[in-house]
Amino acid sequence: MTAAELPALTISELQPLLRGGAVSPGEVVDALQSRISEIEPQIDAYIALDFEAAKHEANAADLSLPLGGIPIAVKDIISVAGQRCTCASRSLSNYIAPYDATLIRKLKAAGAIPLGRTNMDEFAMGSSTENSSVKITLNPWDKSRVPGGSSGGSAAAVAAGAAFGALGTDTGGSIRQPAAFCGIVGLKPSYGRVSRFGVVAFASSLDQAGPLTKTTRDAALLMNAIAGVDPQDSTSLPEPVPDYTQLLGREIRGIRIGLPKEYTTDGIDPQVKAAVDAAVTQLQALGAEISELSLPHTEYAVAVYYVLATAEASANLARFDGVRYGHRTEGVANLVEHYERTRAEGFGAEVKRRIILGTYVLSSGYYDAFYLRAQKVRELIRRDFVEAFKKVDLLISPTSPVPAFKIGERTADPLQMYLADIFTIAANLAGICAISLPCGFATSESGTQLPVGLQLLASSLDEARLLQVAHAFEQSTDWHQRRPPL
């Protein structure tokens, strides 16, 4: 094994090398640094990188810990003490987090080394990472295309071997959709499974942080480190955390998987549909029992999402006013002008659009018609899943109706962009867990190979079973072993 080959390894392949002394944590960081310096100019996945600090931590790494000496890339929305946390926004371009998010504290306690801040849509608002105020990240499989979003930097880095694994956040699909676009595994945990403390809030009742990895086993390993209740997050769930690797490798015979008929809409790209159909057949061959069922309120999910998520965001983003930290305008005559100019300069167009939307739906006279009604429909959507999971153990769908689209293709039409999340949003509204994993490729007009993602969904706190089935599928195919042509 040469140093140049190290970055292509999965976490679970790297672990025995580190523990056996074949490589040192310092060598791992060095190998990653040279890979990143080669790849980064091609894909622009990172906003910031501090190899010196990472080497410092690598030298002190405790290899007896579960993730001892493993560098993990972090989406630029998760606080790491002493590192910039800009959310890819001008409004926080100079903000350095003075504290660790709970999941970072846990990740460090498991021995991992946070290395690098990955690019994203500003404040996680977007599905292509084009809404970053810093740079546009390119899809490693086709550099004319987006990596998906909002955790596009994390997904691109992992897919390109520029990170062993990464953390992202998922409010409406922001882990799963870029994982699908980049041909890797992305897990959105159940709401409350991973503490949100220290994760800059976009929509508090929907946000969840989770892993983006090369394999399902790596996702389980990261989940083992970051999951669990947190007294600083009242919405975190108190249930004990299982070993998420426990069920990996167990056969899935008899597991019931539901195919929601609402997710077989006309808008699905035929190549995506073919790949997902093949995956269903494959799962059947592995012994899963496939049945069709209905999630009757699916058609309302996108509308409900854009009412609730923007409402919460309009309050969550109010704190970025330049009074205590972050971008602050100069030369203003009064307080109102300070707020107006600071925020006009600090936020990008999509963020402003959502703040305005959210402010509107909460306004007196509109609250009942929008916010309150959306809450009621959200409850109906949640119940759809409760009913479905009485009949089946898991649900299956494409992660995205289309493979990675071209840069700039959808920026002019926000609604088209919003519809890219049509299959992922409901999991956030229902608070359940869901995973995206590679299930094939689509061939673009120019002949490039574009990964297709398969989404599996399970009821709240059923991550172990979700990973079991995903792992069984993954191990029966070789999609996860394909690497982009960089």
Binding site: S79, A97, R196, F197, G198, S234, S314, R324, Y325, L335
Partner: protein
Amino acid sequence: MNYIAAIGLEVHVQLKTRSKMFCACPNAYGAPPNTHTCPTCLGLPGALPAMNEEALRMTVLTGLMLDCDIADVSKFDRKNYFYPDLAKNYQISQYDAPLCTNGRVPLHDVAYPQDAQTAIATSGKTVNLVRIHLEEDVAKSFHFETTTGIDFNRAGTPLMEIVSQPEIASPDEAFAYLTSLKQILICGGISDADMEKGQLRCDCNVSVRAATQAELGAKVEIKNMNSISGVRRALRFEIERQIALLESGATIQQETRGWNDDAGETFLMRSKESAHDYRYFPDPDLLPIATHALLADVRARVPELPAAKRMRFVEQYGVSGYDAGVLTHDLAVAAYFERAAEHSPKPKSVANWILNDLQSALSAAGISVGDCPIPPEALEELVGLIDAGRISGKQAKEVFAEMFETSRPAGVIVKERGLEQVSDVAAIEALCDNAIAANPKPAADYRAGNAASLNFLTGQVMKLSKGKANPQIVTEILTRKLKE
């Protein structure tokens, strides 16, 4: 034309919790600026609130003390507005599901201003409440010449808002309402409720209308009062101002006015602005609160309230209703009285000593009963000495003065000063015999019917005893001997 006023009070109370409402920072006054802060109360990106359960319990306890309905399920909402003292630019507060609704504050006579106690229009009145809710306090702004500094030590400390119905009819009633409320809050250990320290803040809504008119007049809100008497003065001024306006044929505008205590007048702060839209919505960071889990614990904490204490003092110690009111007006005085009166055979005398000599000595010295140099047990001893006839009432005053000065026990002072009265009958009889023998004429005069001569002879005996003989016993013995 007769006018009537309708006053509603919104009282903000700082809760005496150890930590802030949503983080572990200390809830303490007076530290250097921005030293009691953390990511949560500074509103840093990613920080979340975590509920201080004691703040919930204190609010529910207040609700129970004030006879409120406690919500089965309550929740917190975000109140959205921009201001530099509000770290997140939204305040975590309660909108449509407050912890407590309804309830009442009983006004008792002693709670009225002293100069108004003889003319209380509606003795025994209670003022109904609308609601009590819990919210986080904002930071404090300090305006300098060209800049404004913000101290976030206060940001995120628990603040309880108690809203009354507009049922308060006069400035005196408002005074009694605040005094009674303050007393109950102190009694429950909720707050020290000191207005000058901002622990209790009060906004007044006041409207005036012709006595013949049913619906309320336009509401004027007054802010900035920093004492209960200031509230009374502000309301007096404002009611007169509004009456004068009505008399002149003008209409009252809905507006917010400030109180300038030095000038003794209210001034316009802002006229009715376009109604502020706070865009309240449930805070997704906090779970709804089921109060039943707290209630058993909190019920056990409901203390004896001032009204119940008053009644018990009358029954248990035989003091008058008025005296019981004064004794229970200040919880510390009530506790002092109970400790002094508990084992005393003369609890009424103990009460009199506290209400007269002790209170005036304390106020002359400018100290509170908590720092009283005479421990309650020592006062009980003093009253015991008088009761046993060992010192006279006049001597007791001297002894009291020295006790207050030196904190030494009454018995020691009496002994040192040789004040103890001689009540030994045999010794006094001998002195009486001497006095009669040495003053045959007055003795004869008395026997002849001149009653005044007895006083002279008593004086002689007292002189012989160097003032220590119990004058009552002297008179008895002399009377008996002269009749022999």
